[in-house]
């Protein structure tokens, strides 16, 4: 019993270190991702995005084609743990909010990049689909993993 304690303490310290390392690396990766998202959004801002079902002046557009963009993204374990704590007191789950925002913006950008490659000027009827892939792992808990899908109809306006 006495010999088991130091080992347990070592294990806890090790897990804590891994968690903190994950938090630091994950945090910097997340900030870099947000910067990159902002740049790409600026570059693609000439494509008009709209979630209306009906295209205005449909006779002036051509080459309608559906585009998809999707991404699977996860939080680090530490943030998932923090989210668990947040459940106790309620309030906004910031880490979950940033995860969803990253996923949604990334999916939309992938859609827009495809639309740009096709020479589209507008994307209509943009919709988002979401699924929680954590359940795909056969257990709840662990890191949050989400899949975000963005789809819409890209068109090119003549003239």
């Amino acid at each position: 019993m006495n010999e088991a304690w130091p080992f347990l303490i070592q294990l806890v310290v090790f897990a804590f270190c891994i968690g903190v390392l994950g938090l630091l690396v994950g945090g910097s990766k997340e900030r870099r991702h947000f910067r990159e998202l902002a740049e790409r959004e600026k570059r693609l801002s000439h494509i008009r995005v709209c979630n209306l079902k009906r295209v205005t002046a449909p006779d002036e557009v051509e080459d309608a084609h559906m585009m998809l963009g999707s991404v699977v993204i996860a939080t680090d374990y530490f943030k998932s743990f923090a989210t668990g704590l947040r459940n106790l007191v309620g309030g906004e789950m910031r880490s979950a909010v940033s995860l969803m925002n990253r996923a949604r913006r990334e999916a939309l950008l992938r859609l827009l990049e495809q639309a740009e490659a096709r020479g589209a000027s507008e994307v209509w009827n943009v919709r988002f689909g979401y699924s929680n892939i954590s359940q795909m792992r056969g257990r709840s808990g662990g890191a949050m993993q989400v899949e975000m899908l963005a789809y819409g109809t890209a068109v090119r306006r003549r003239g």
């Binding site: 690396v25 996860a74 680090d76 795909m136 789809y151």
Partner: protein
């Protein structure tokens, strides 16, 4: 085959709505990818293995939908929607559905 998720095909006229076409697939991830994802979860970020898996699976669901549309000799599919659901542990279902339509000949046929 023209595929759009708007109710109409912009610039074209729909002559006839044939009916609902659908396609689905259920995919399981494989263990290697799951282990890799487990490590990736330490720092968070994109899980590329899963992104590829789901993109590929969704394309298959779409292709099955298009095969149905082709069988009905449709010209296009409008109002396409996607859903994803985690059916059992370890697998996800991807489902695509839309309305198959026949188009009127292009108005004032444009030659390009």
């Amino acid at each position: 085959m023209i595929v759009v998720n708007t109710e109409t095909i912009p610039g074209r006229e729909i002559a006839e709505a044939i009916g609902l076409v659908q396609g689905n697939t259920i995919r399981a991830k494989h263990v290697g990818r799951d282990i890799a994802a487990g490590f990736k979860n330490l720092v968070g970020g994109e899980l590329r293995g899963y992104t590829e898996l789901l993109t590929e699976a969704r394309r298959q669901a779409l292709e099955r939908m298009l095969a149905q549309a082709k069988q009905l000799s449709a010209d296009g599919v409008v109002n396409v929607r996607f859903t994803t659901s985690a059916v059992t542990g370890g697998a996800a279902e991807l489902y695509a559905y839309g309305t198959a339509v026949r188009l009127a000949p292009a108005a004032g046929a444009r030659y390009e």
